[in-house]
Amino acid sequence: MDFTTFVKPSNGGGDGGGSDADVGGQKLQFWKHVEYIENHGKQEDDYEYCMTEFLRMSGIYWGTTALDIMGLIYCCVGFFSLTHRLHLLDVDKLGWWLCERQLPSGGLNGRPEKLPDVCYSWWVLASLTIMGRLHWISSEKLQQFILSCQDTETGGFSDRTGNMPDIFHTLFGIGGLSLLGHSGLKAINPTLCMPQYIIDRLGIKPQRLPRP
């Protein structure tokens, strides 16, 4: 588990291991989340674990599969990014539709007139990042929304504020914060949903458009 630039304090974090970055009065609870993710792998006899085991059995991964409409867009944009064919997209049109996903709460939804969900902090945001249009939404408001979805007791993130956390929304919450440059998180690659240093080590260079 190596997605933060912080060194775990010897006392286990004391106050829950909040980062120094404070967005709208909220802090990212690093060590709670690290623990949450670590524990997930140990809970083989957990019902939730069994019910989500299909990911392993199917050899697929939520971050790179088509969960819904937004997931489909992410897959298409990601495919063009991997094949260096982003010129085939109408970036201004698609980018507008994507930035319209941000709601007054700061969270993003997947389609018009739907509720926000932390998982779109990954799908929408990664697509916008690949297309060089991350600045078309409010980064601060989105960070606030993501942070409001973290479970400060158990660690982990849920889809919406006050809901049960799960391992997927934890990935998307942290991934989204990383794309937004939240302090203390290592950079994540928007096309492959993996830490950038690993992508660099492997010498993979997905295409990414510059900001206009």
């Binding site: 199917s58 085939l88 389609r111 956390p165 900001r211």
Partner: protein, 511 residues
């Protein structure tokens, strides 16, 4: 896990739940273990089918189990086929009655295979009741129907009607609907009626508006291909959508559709067009209206002075693949007419004024789409309605944006200042998307500047962007590649840094 509220439970309750789940886990693990063993042993039988059902009904997203079921189905089908062929090889001496019997057996076999498919369809239906958004269940349904030569596609269309009553926004059902209506050969006009009905029930049904946008270009094609559908139909759609939008101006569904209507239709599949071109005796530059990194695939020819020259070895000028240079020597003849062809587009070049030798071509990015009198009148009525609404609700985001788009559709040049004022207001009332509106303002400004550039005295040698409006970015910069000198506001120049566009002079120096 979606939409599950975190509730505080008592210690006792937690214990009870834990025990309950432990039992479920045990059952799950036992079934999974048994399935894996049977698969290793190649036992694709009825027991395997019932074992997978137990888990799939609880969690229809285990792809592996659907794969195993497909293996079972194929196995059963091939068994049936074997039985059939065994019956089909009677010796020559055998008489008519045997043939009749073979026919009967064949029909019985068909019935048997049909019942195998029905079993799979029933299971997916049950699973979709548990999770109507299970990709795997929908996929298995498609697979099963594709295997069955007697599949009843009409019934599937009815099933979609039923499911859309439960959830009118389930995009799986809409996608599936597009697939099965194709198979059942439902006429597009009939589907459009279905859409209209759905929208009448609820204006906020974005899925239905989207479905509509796929049907209309096919049913009412636009001859010029610069609008999404015929002008006549477009006018009617505009009327319909504005009624919907005004019913609840804060609902975005209809406004999205409205913007699509005002657009130029599908342009993605068309080849790039020549945006700008300049030629002199030592070389040429070419700008395309959209990026195209594979320029080698496009045949570029210069015709004039009694010869046809193939322009080759284009070098990229920018990273996007929109502007190119070619260092080739031409025997340019001042008094000859020249034309340039790029794939199937052919344009006439104009000679440069003054003492310099050379020719150029320029087509500004904002083209005016065809507009009949009736359509124009409709656009003006709509604009007036929007402006009236703004009197009462000056901060209405969608009205502000749509009225700006309508103004530009009517006369983008005359309404330039007002449409920019709307964007400036949008930056405030819709501050989440401030960055978007700033970039859009830059686009509209450049479209306007480039449209009037040919009227300036030193065109195309000098491009002057006055310092009055602060631009966030410089879109369409490839159009400037034919200029010798580009004057930009200092702030913008600083912002662009190394990506300040190259001039024709810069390119010559580099050669």
């Amino acid at each position: 896990m979606h939409g599950r509220v975190k509730v505080r439970t008592t210690e006792e309750e937690r214990e009870r739940k834990k025990k309950e789940q432990a039992l479920k886990v045990r059952a799950y693990r036992a079934a999974m273990g048994r399935i894996q063993k049977k698969r290793e042993a190649g036992e694709l039988d009825n027991e395997m089918l019932s074992l997978t059902v137990q888990i799939l009904l609880r969690n229809p997203d285990v792809s592996t189990l659907w794969n195993i079921r497909r293996e079972c189905v194929l196995e059963k089908l091939s068994r049936l086929k074997e039985e059939e062929t065994a019956c089909e090889t009677p010796s020559e001496e055998e008489n008519q009655t045997v043939e009749d019997k073979t026919g009967e057996k064949k029909a019985a076999a068909e019935d048997k295979s049909h019942s195998i498919f029905t079993c799979e369809l029933d299971l997916t239906e049950q699973c979709l009741m548990v999770n109507p958004k299970s990709y795997n269940a929908w996929h298995h349904r498609c697979w099963t129907l594709e295997q069955n030569p007697r599949a009843d596609w009409q019934r599937e269309v009815q099933l979609c009607n039923k499911y859309l009553k439960f959830d009118e926004r389930n995009f799986h059902t809409w996608d599936y609907r597009r697939y099965v209506t194709g198979k059942a050969m439902v006429p597009a006009a009939q589907e459009l009626d279905f859409c209209t009905e759905k929208i009448k029930v609820n204006f906020s049904n974005y899925s239905s508006w989207h479905h509509r946008s796929l049907l209309l270009p096919e049913l009412y094609p636009n001859q010029q291909r610069d609008r999404p559908m015929s002008e006549e139909k477009l006018q009617k759609e505009l009327e319909m959508v504005l009624t919907a939008a005004f019913t609840d101006p804060n609902d975005s569904s209809a406004w999205f559709y409205q913007r699509w209507l005002l657009g130029s239709g599908a342009q993605l599949d068309r080849a790039p067009r020549i945006a700008a071109f300049r030629l002199e005796s030592h070389g040429a530059v070419l700008a395309l209206d959209k990026p195209y990194p594979d320029i080698k695939q496009l045949k570029t020819e210069l015709v004039g002075g009694g010869q046809t020259i193939l322009l080759e070895s284009w070098q990229p000028v920018d990273k996007r693949g929109t502007s190119w240079k070619c260092q080739q020597n031409f025997d340019y003849q001042r008094n000859s007419a020249y034309s340039l062809s790029l794939s199937d587009q052919k344009v006439d070049l104009l000679p440069l004024s003054g003492p310099e030798n050379g020719a150029y071509y320029f087509a500004p990015p904002h083209g005016t789409a065809s507009c009949s009198k009736d359509l124009l009148a409709e656009l003006q009525t709509q604009l007036q309605s929007c402006l009236d609404l703004l009197e009462f609700e000056p901060d209405s985001k969608w009205t502000l944006l749509t009225s700006a788009l309508l103004m530009r559709a009517i006369d983008f040049s005359a309404n330039h200042e007002t449409s920019l004022a709307h964007l400036a207001k949008l930056e405030k009332v819709d501050s989440l998307r401030e960055g978007y509106y700033k970039d859009l303002a830059a686009r509209w400004t450049l479209e306007w500047e480039l449209a009037k550039w040919p009227l300036s005295a030193d065109f195309p040698k000098r491009f002057d962007k006055a310092d009055d409006v602060l631009l966030e970015s410089l879109p369409y910069d490839q159009y400037l590649v034919i200029a010798d000198e580009i004057t930009l506001p200092k702030k913008l120049r600083d912002k662009l840094g190394e990506s300040v566009p190259k001039t024709f002079v810069d390119l010559k120096l580099q050669s």
